[in-house]
Amino acid sequence: MSIFSERSLWGRLDDVQHDAGYDEDHPPRMGFFTDTSVCIGCKACEVACKEWNDVPDDGYLLTGMSYDNTQALGASTWRHVAFVEKSGAGAAPAVDLGMPSFDLPGAHPHGEDQATESGDGALRWLMSSDVCKHCTHAGCLDVCPTGALFRTEFGTVVVQPDVCNGCGYCVSACPYGVIDLRKDDGRAFKCTLCYDRLKEGQTPACAQACPTESIQFGELSELRERADRRLEELHEKGVDVARLYGRDPEDGVGGDGAFFLLLDEPEVYGLPPDPVVPTRDIGSVWKHVGIAAATLFGVGVASFVGRRK
């Protein structure tokens, strides 16, 4: 597989910077652990990100999606806080696939007998601050034809806007739907994990602004340990719904540089349940392209074989 260089395409990868060509003495891989169980939905992270990175506003639209009016990550929203209203007795998330539940809040009026019950358990309002995952195997980076996307010495994935030609390939290649082109500008933008701040030894703006330490920034290895402890703690308290998302270095993207503690299924927050970096299959893709090309060539040759008519 030499044509893919020494870089690994998927699976566990313990030194992503080295894999990307950095010397052994590169700084440790930095990342985020976002603990949504303590997120209060204040959106300070969204605002701090925009202020620091000079990201333009993303339009003014009351969506009716609970308190979420910025809707999703995108070229002009690099942090996005999701608000999920879940009601019904117990409101515990279905472990199996529940009913389609993409209705807007309050679409299913509760029965009158429930009306006097308190909010305990009967109503949950989940909040979660989403961000680029800075994947170990980043689809966006893999497919970028210009080298505008690159892996930094901190193991993060960053776009250089002065190189990007707006081809949009990264947009389709991100299994999380993170990166996007900015309409009036044409280029791709996403979270830089505050590369400029990292280089100065500072904490990213969003994490700095988060009042509850829902967004924790640090060395990825240390964050993973911290997250494991937190998960254990929550499970001990009986919060069985807590789970880690993107923490597993064996998952489809080799683990996220920004991973999460969630209180429900990932798709409830708008996250893919089992994302896989597209490039995992690039070998198979090229193999089939090769065979198909050969076939086409063969078809061409065969077309000329035989009687002249």
């Binding site: 169980s37 303590v38 997120c39 209060i40 939905g41 204040c42 959106k43 300070a44 969204e46 605002v47 925009k50 202020e51 333009p56 506003d57 993303d58 339009g59 003014y60 639209l61 009351l62 009716g64 609970s66 308190y67 009016n69 910025t70 209203e85 009601s87 807007l104 809040p105 309050g106 679409a107 299913h108 009026p109 509760h110 009158e112 009306a115 006097t116 019950e117 308190s118 909010g119 305990d120 109503l123 949950r124 309002w125 989940l126 909040m127 009042p211 509850t212 330490e213």
Partner: protein
Amino acid sequence: MAEAHPVGFQWVMEAKRRGATIIHVDPRFTRTSAVSDVHVPIRAGSDIAWLGALVNYVLSNDLDFREYVVAYTNAANIIEGRFQDTEDLDGLFSGFDPETGHYDPTSWAYQPDSAQQVEDDAERDRAYGDTPGSQESHQSARSESHGSGGAPVRWKGRRDETLQDPSCVFQILKRHFARYTPEMVQEVCGIGPEQFQRVAEALTRNSGRDRTTAFCYAVGWTHHSTGAQMIRTASILQLLLGNIGRPGGGIMALRGHASIQGSTDIPTLFNILPGYLPMPTASQHQSLDEWVRDDEGKAGFWGNVRSYAVSLLKSYWGDAATPENDFCFDYLPRITGDHSTYTTVKSMIEGSCKGYFVVGENPTVGSSNGKMQRLGLANLDWLVVRDLQMIETATFWKDSPEIETGELVTEEIGTEVFFLPAATHVEKSGSFTQTQRMLQWRDKAVDPPGDARSELQFYYDLGQRIRRKLAGSTDEMDRPLLDLAWDYPTDDEGDPEGEAVLKEINGTGPDGAALASYTELKDDGSTACGCWIYCGVYADEVNLARRRKPHWDQDWVASEWGWVWPANRRQLYNRASAAPDGSPWSERKAYIQWDADADDGKGKWVGPDVPDFIADRAPDYVPPEGAKGPDAIGGQDPFIMQTDGKGWLFAPLGVADGPMPAHYEPPESPVRNPLYGQQNNPSRRKVDHPANPINPSFSEIFPYVFTTYRLTEHHTAGGMSRTLPYLTELQPEPFCEVSPRLAAERGLTHGDWVTIVTARAAIEAKVLVTDRMRSLRLGDRFVEQVGLPYHWGGNGLTTGDSPNDLVNLTLDPNVYIQDKVGTCDIRPGRRPRGPELTAYVEAYRRRAGVDMAHPEDGGADG
């Protein structure tokens, strides 16, 4: 708290991480509820019934912290035999005058210890040249007559420490709250008995020697015609449970704007002067002596009020203030009654107030009954608005809703409006005083743009210009201005140095050096001090408010972060963290304690905080007969600002609407008060004006409760958030929130426009139909609530109708705050435009039978 105080809320989350149970009581399921262990949905305005039932639960199950209660509160005090409770008078206390709506509190007083005590007091009155008892009139319950010491009682009074005497506070309290049962809570608040039980158990289980519970509140309690009493109820509960003055305990007001605490310490209020010195009144205070006499010499530090007052006058008038001229006491203005903001608005409408400064507020959006605000502004000669943005208050003359309806016509408005751009908090240096009474210094980060100036520069300059104009005047009237000590060092731009002002506030001695403590203040004119409680912030000429030592570099009390008044004391009344004998209540909750061996066996109070007590006052100290001021504080009197040193379960005076809280319905309510015949707070302050009609109680035309509140994404009247793209995109349109049941009842569709109507106005907003709004079952009926974030107005990036146009003006009689709840109707679709809007609201008034002859009266009772 997560919504409006997200940064402070980090500590709640920290507490939760460490195992604390978080209980959130709110009509709505909010971001706070989302991370709390328990959310208790409550009908807006019914908190006294809820808290009262918790008090009853504690009292009737003997769950109070008895040792604490007996020693540190006034539970044992015997009350005058003349006292009558709401039990006896169907919702009124003794002393009510239906004519004025005021209480005469004399029947609520402590019984004196002895005839001697009465005689001594009369003696003192005579010394001031009064006839005994004439002070009674001074003791009117009206709050503008009291400063920070609270109302001074005349004597510590007779006590029964067995708490058995039927006339003792404890027994009175028990009887008073007996009718506040869980069943009543269900009927009044819509909270079920199971939930009540759950909270009551959690609360009591987590109180006592080993554990403490804290209450946090903000304007969900304060903004009611019974607001002060809501907070009193919680205070009573906390005192009974022994949760005051102890680590992890307390009842914490979460203040509003960045320095709203500072703006009461060094007040923007009409009735107090810096350090909570009462504003002199025209009727009672003709001299310095008369001004301080009520408080002077009483037990506690408030007894030194003359030193604080004289030092304040010295800081105002410097060398001109001498003992001979009463330290210029006569230069102080005197108040003649209520001059609070809403009363002033009424004076504007009536034409007696001609000019108005609006500095850092946006009343046409932020204050209740927006129409009255605008009618007032439209009737001024001149208006000065100093703000960061072109706010609605500055543009009312061209685009207010009344212009649209034709009620006001631009060409006919004679008000001359001056708009002056102001520097923001990052464009000037200065201090903020936050919720914890902590002063934090802020250095200037950037220069203000264009003509924008700091307040300091503006007022300093204005003062100088006026003084230049008056120079040489011989008119007596101009002396107060000409004699002012009005001289500050300025920077290159002419902006006075903030630290020089801070030093003036801190106070200086005869040598001009900064003082270290308010105990150094003198009443002879040798010291000057701009605010006695801030004395010490500039000790040794160091700006202690600037300290930023991180908490991980110091002990857990973190005394070197900022500076907290008074005396950098992080927790008030912390003497109560020790048992009467001075030992900690428990190891776990140790804080301040008596170390008998310290100071060569003289003993002293020690602990991580500055003791809120006289440092060497032994626990067994009993004040000698005739002791005054701090000397009169007994070794077991932790509440050193009170003249009797005790926490007040029962207020023998000083509270305008009764010695104990009682539940009354909001002025607009769909519910008949099940507790008493008295429907509304009898001493609520009504604002009588045709633009302020009140929805009749139990009206079927206005069947729903509404309440107003904040969103994390916006700030108050919007000038600082609706103008910013990053905040606007987060909440881009005005909306209201309703339950699915209400939506079904009125045919409201999620995301569509709706119109909300009261007798005052109709506004439109988008509607969010959400389970977060609960339908509350009160007995056999449902009460629906409409939630209304109040941030919107006509200017900025996101605009819309102002919910405050809906809100009625009825005020709490203690602090003159408006009520944030009311009743309304809600209908699908947008509101009518132009004159049709007036007709639409008029039709509602007619159908509801609003009595326009007495529009201020909902008509349920007097």
